[in-house]
Symmetry: C2
């Protein structure tokens, strides 16, 4: 609602109209209705380039407020928080600050996890973790009260109006309400009723700050749904047609149990969609008339090989499109955030840029952990022009630069001569091709050795007391290699490579395994089994594998969040499954159904031996949440899922099938999204590699900045005046270091790993400029016509606090 | 080898240097070593714009040769035949002409099919088609002799040198040789030996002219193989690691038959890759220790959900890349072909373009069926400038224009007034939204009706003697609709839409079904069953479905060729399977194996009833080629494939598993390619739609050209002088038509359906220009340095016949 207050101030981001008077005088004249504690007066100070005069208390205080608000804007930009949730007054600000730190986030997360984990101990509980109803209901109530507290903080920060308009929060409130009532009912009745609503507990987890990626995934899934559903309908439509056809064709055959009614026909063709009953469903009719296979071949060709792939194509296409649009909107959101922050940091006297003093003030709030040196380096890295001010254009790179980790570039070794030669020698040796390929050969030989050894074993007790000599030999070689590499490259450089880290941990595991063998610690034997993982090193040999594995590591966070999203769906279905199907399946439960064999458990005597005939499928039940998860995983893998479905159905009603079918469709959606994601990520990455074949070798973003001694002394002076002792001491150390080596300046390297966003930036380079232009054009068109036509094309909306507090309150 | 003869002639395609002397005088001076019958003298005539003078016999003859060679070049461009197979002399030309017509192609195809179909009648034959050894061996010999004849024609055309260098032909020759010997051996011994080489018979089909698409698919599959194999190795590598791990972890459990040896462990994890044995393989260990499910979950997550998708991503990416490169090379190949043809059609006096006379000569050879009017319209459509000559730049559009079908655009109805009003009224009615939606409602009601009806039936004899009245009612409605549409739109326009054609045929089928019911013709009852297909019409309602179905139709030829490629793989495997596993599987064959139940066939008596317990899997055998195909299809669908594998393995040796595993991997390759193809095609199409949202509605390429009466008379004159009576008569008719309606000109519409190539042209618009430039630059760089620097940038290599015959012979 505040986004469209009229524009009263325009700034020229190029700095060319620095002499133009600013129109925000009126802001100053507005009385501060909130007690002056959260006030924005951006022009109260009298800054000069590199200035360092001690400011008056109130002016300084106001600057601090500006810094804080700018930092909040930048955080909102980074986290993709909408600006209408921006704190509007002092009370809101304190609530905002309270609700935006890791302590609060952790509380949020642990409450959500507690609520989710409660299902381990509730009614159909895991045997070992069973708790009394009184205990778990009290725990639940406690967790719910914490959630109430969290929500009230959020309400304080957002205000009632915004709170109500925020959909996710409203849903959460409703769920909370329902849960509360149910928990009290349970406590009063001292018995659990059918609490399907427990499935909604996931929402507390999804709403956590740390689960932003999950929320994004869910949004993406819901956005991909409309085209998905369209194609799904096509799929189901063909299914119905074929079901009618199949019923007409095969029901006269009385030995065919799959098509005797229309319902059976439908169910079996649905299962056939998953291929899970394939040759079986065809067999009775095939045995009678060989040509009936045509029906099944046509059905599978259309449904499985065509429409299912179509589904993937449509989702993939939508996914692609959404990814790009999401990237665009995130980029523009960040840009707007930067504009807002910039507005709060420039002074009236020098509207063409931000001085270091103010930039430093911002960083104090935005990244409190950053040391003085890094702050200055970030400022220098941003500042493209050689003026002492950072212009808006430079400031736009804020997010790219602020993540850099700065390090002094080593110019000279500090070691004595002979030691240096030895280390250098080892370094050369370790980096040589001969050494590397020797190691690969060793690993390959080891691999073959393990394979042959295992093949020769053929059962028996292979965890013999005496450690095999081959194990020791290979481990020694790996140990020597590890030692050589660590000394040759230095431990820091050695461990900075993911591959070396992998080598290190595998060798460590092998060593632990040896210990376990030597000291006969049985529970750790499984470590020995991890030996073959050494072989993974062989995949460094080929570029494609390196590429694949690098991409895999890059994708890992995203994959994990997708996995978590899947788990959340699992949780919902597990709760529902437990409420309806707990204890339904047991050995020999389904002797009347078609899948009786799979549930059989017979203990009969043949001759003088007892033979146990086990179908094992009774293990795939919903008796507690862990079992449910395993069962749901089996349903996800799809193979033979109909046995589980039929087993449960035979013990309950026909309508149980709905649960399984819906689960199949939901996992199909999620799995298709996962496939689309992997496809998209890899194809994107490969296109990127193809496009930037030259710059492909570097692994990360690297920036170089030189700082002269005078600069350091200058900043030190600045800090000293604002009496920041620790910062001054830090900088003093740099000066001393420089003096020691007689340098006039030090070269710093800023480094960070490349993210998907960086790749996208490069891929869409041309389009991004168009987006920016379009964006600023749109903003301009929102500006009322009383604005002078000469307004710069990056005009900013005045979203500063005072303005808003004036309009809202 | 001829591609790099020195350039002796350059042409300026812009026509600006028309006055520059041509350097091909020396061509004329070369003596004709081949008896003058296949001679190229491109400047012997004295053409003028619209000239029509009767030429001297010899000059004319030479022009005919040029026309023919130009037409051959254009055909080679279209069919992507390499230019080094271009006929080099008169003998080669006659062989070329003999081997390049549909009669020859059909012979090729039918011989190949005969050879393939022989396997229906050979040793493990389909019972009904069994033939004596003498009969089928003689048939085979006969077919092989025909192939020899074909090959000798090809050799005549290509010459021995080129013939040997042509890989595919050489492979074919070798296979032919082997087949010949084997056929004779069979004939002599009067008994079939293990003839695995029969699997190679496919090559005769692949080499057919009509199977170009299959060859392209195979090439694409082989090109996608290297990255595929890389990822496959990764997959197998993880499989081996997990097999060792699984063996160590689960072999102490003696009730677990899946991991008791390393071999079993490997095989079961391979099967698990296909999920085919999923919950079962986990169950024994899961029953003992619930945490062992982690092993399987991790394995499946890595292998199935990650690496398998990676496989798809890599293949998809490679496929994308190959598609683009293929399009590029095809485009450039066509361009070169057009350049060659152009060189042969221009005259010395007017080197800036092709006159209609020569263009007409070309078309007479290139498209003999085209009528005079169409030839002239094609010429006009090509000619962008208003000169009487088609320049090279215009001529580049040859392939796009030559496929157009030309029709007179109707300007006035020829009907009397009242009839016209009625038809117009029906037309408006039929095209109205109300009518369409009424029909959709009817179809929907019909669908629900059928569903309810079928549901109520529940078995019993539903083909009752009396036709249900609903059937008649709906059929009447559809009939009326069909009638209205045909009269309203006119039969031609009605049937020109694919959807209407579909409506028509479904209604026709329904009518036939009614007849079958009414006259009680039992074998045709299945037609009744096709009624629900009417419901497909509902998918016209939504744009996405129309898009999907349109794309489906566009893709159909390509899909069919992919299916054929798959069938060829099936054939190879079927032959090998039959040679090794025919008769191996029968009821109760595998009672000692783990899959005994599936092969059981017991006929036991319970009480006084005979109960047949059938496992049916013995039906999935390799006893004849049709059974083998069904079995292979079941293996392709993957579910429960291990039952077939284990059944066969238990009757033969362990090594049989190799056959099934290799088949799985091969089908995985082909299926992945199919998925990649569908993905690529749909994503491409959707991108295209997004890019051209405005021009999306038109369905095809449409061109408009006006011809004035004078022009027609002019061409008529031209034909009359060359005494072409039929053409003159055709044109006469047009003139009469114009006279009748008093028009001075007639508007013609050229129309053809859009192909993938058209879409690609539009998608890669910008890149295509780059390709052209790069291509002509490359050609230039191949030109020896003695060329003047001012040579135009579309310099042509002189690939004309005489030049080559001079260098080769």
């Amino acid at each position: 609602m505040d986004d469209d207050v009229p524009l009263i101030l325009t700034l020229d981001d190029t700095g060319s109209s620095a002499s133009a008077p600013l129109d925000d005088l009126e802001r100053e004249e507005l009385p501060n209705e909130n007690g002056g504690s959260y006030d924005v007066i951006s022009d109260a100070s009298s800054p000069a380039a590199g200035d360092c005069c001690v400011q008056q208390g109130s002016a300084r205080h106001n600057w601090e407020m500006n810094y804080q608000e700018a930092a909040i804007y930048l955080q909102e930009g980074e986290n993709n928080d909408k600006f209408f949730t921006h704190p509007k007054n002092a009370k809101a600000l304190s609530a905002y600050l309270f609700a935006h730190n890791h302590l609060f986030y952790l509380m949020e997360l642990s409450t959500a996890l507690l609520l989710l984990l409660l299902s381990l101990c509730e009614a159909p509980a895991v045997p070992m973790l069973r708790l009394g109803i009184f205990v778990h209901a009290t725990l639940e109530l406690f967790a719910l009260i914490v959630v109430v507290f969290e929500l009230s903080m959020k309400m304080r920060w957002l205000g009632f109006q915004t709170f109500i308009r925020h959909k996710r929060t409203m849903v959460k409130t409703c769920v909370l309400f329902v849960q509360f009532i149910e928990a009290i009912v349970v406590l009063v009745r001292q018995t659990s009723h059918v609490r399907i609503t427990r499935a909604l507990r996931c929402i507390f987890l999804v709403d956590c700050r740390y689960c932003g990626a999950v929320r994004r995934n869910l949004r993406q899934i819901f956005q991909s749904l409309p085209p998905f559903i369209d194609i799904l309908l096509l799929l189901l439509f063909f299914m119905v047609i074929f079901a009618i056809l199949g019923f007409y064709l095969f029901s006269p055959n009385h030995s065919d149990p799959y098509f005797n009614t229309l319902e059976n026909s439908l169910v079996n063709l649905f299962v056939l969609l998953t291929t899970s009953n394939f040759p079986d469903v065809m067999m009775p009719s095939y045995a009678r008339n060989p040509w009936s296979c045509v029906f099944f071949i046509v059905y599978l060709s259309i449904e499985l090989y065509f429409i299912m792939n179509l589904l993937l194509a449509v989702v993939f296409d939508t996914f692609n499109d959404i990814e790009k649009r999401k990237f665009k909107s995130l980029l523009l959101h960040k840009r707007t955030a930067i504009q807002h922050a910039y507005r709060l940091l420039i002074t009236r006297q020098r509207p063409s840029g931000i001085s270091f003093k103010h930039f430093e003030g911002l960083l104090r709030f935005y990244k409190p952990r950053m040391c003085a040196r890094e702050r200055y380096l970030t400022f220098k890295a941003l500042n493209q022009s050689n003026t002492p001010l950072v212009s808006l254009k430079d400031f736009y790179n804020f997010y790219e630069v602020v993540g850099l980790k700065w390090k002094v570039r080593k110019t000279k070794s500090e070691l004595p001569r002979t030691a240096f030669v030895i280390f250098k020698g080892i370094n050369i040796l370790v980096k040589s091709r001969v050494f590397q390929y020797t190691m690969y050969t060793v690993v390959a030989v080891n691999g073959i050795w393990i394979l042959v050894e295992t093949f020769m074993l053929q059962g028996g007790n292979f965890f013999s007391r005496n450690v095999p000599w081959s194990y020791i030999v290979f481990l020694t070689i790996y140990g020597v290699e590890l030692l050589l590499k660590t000394t040759g490259l230095g431990p820091v450089e050695y461990l900075s490579s993911g591959w070396n880290l992998f080598d290190f941990s595998v060798t460590l595991f092998a060593f632990l395994g040896l210990m376990a063998l030597a000291f006969n610690m049985e529970p750790f034997y499984f470590i020995v089994v991890l030996r073959p993982l050494q072989l993974l090193r062989l995949f460094k040999l080929k570029k494609r594998y390196r590429n694949v594995l690098d991409t895999m590591f890059e994708l890992f966070p995203r994959m994990a969040s997708l996995g978590l999203t899947l788990l959340i769906f699992y949780y919902c279905f597990a709760i529902v499954g437990m409420e309806f199907f707990a204890g339904v399946v047991y050995p020999n439960c389904c002797n009347t159904s078609t899948v009786a064999d799979s549930y059989r458990w017979v203990n009969h005597t043949v001759g003088n031996k007892t033979v146990v005939e086990e179908g094992y499928y009774y293990l795939n039940n919903f008796d507690n949440i862990l079992n449910s998860f395993v069962t749901l995983f089996e349903l996800t893998v799809v193979n033979d899922w109909y046995i589980i479905m039929e087993g449960v159905t035979s013990q309950t009603t026909h309508w149980s099938r709905l649960y399984f079918m819906i689960f199949y469709i939901v996992t199909m959606v999620v799995m298709t999204i996962i496939v689309a994601f992997i496809l998209d990520a890899f194809v994107f990455r490969m296109n990127y590699t193809r496009k930037n074949q030259d710059s492909e070798e570097d692994n990360g973003i690297v920036l170089e900045k030189e700082i002269s001694k005078e600069e350091v002394v200058g900043i030190m002076e600045l800090y000293r005046r604002s009496s920041a002792a620790t910062e001054t001491a830090q900088l003093q150390k740099i000066v001393l270091q420089m003096d020691k080596y007689g340098q006039m300046s030090t070269l710093f390297l800023g480094r960070r790993s490349r993210t998907k966003s960086d790749l996208s930036m490069k891929m869409y380079e041309e389009e991004i400029q168009e987006w920016y232009e379009e964006h600023s054009r749109k903003e301009e068109s929102q500006v009322p016509s009383q604005e002078p036509a000469s307004a710069s094309n990056s005009s900013l909306k005045p979203l500063s606090l005072r303005q808003r507090s004036h309009t809202v309150i």
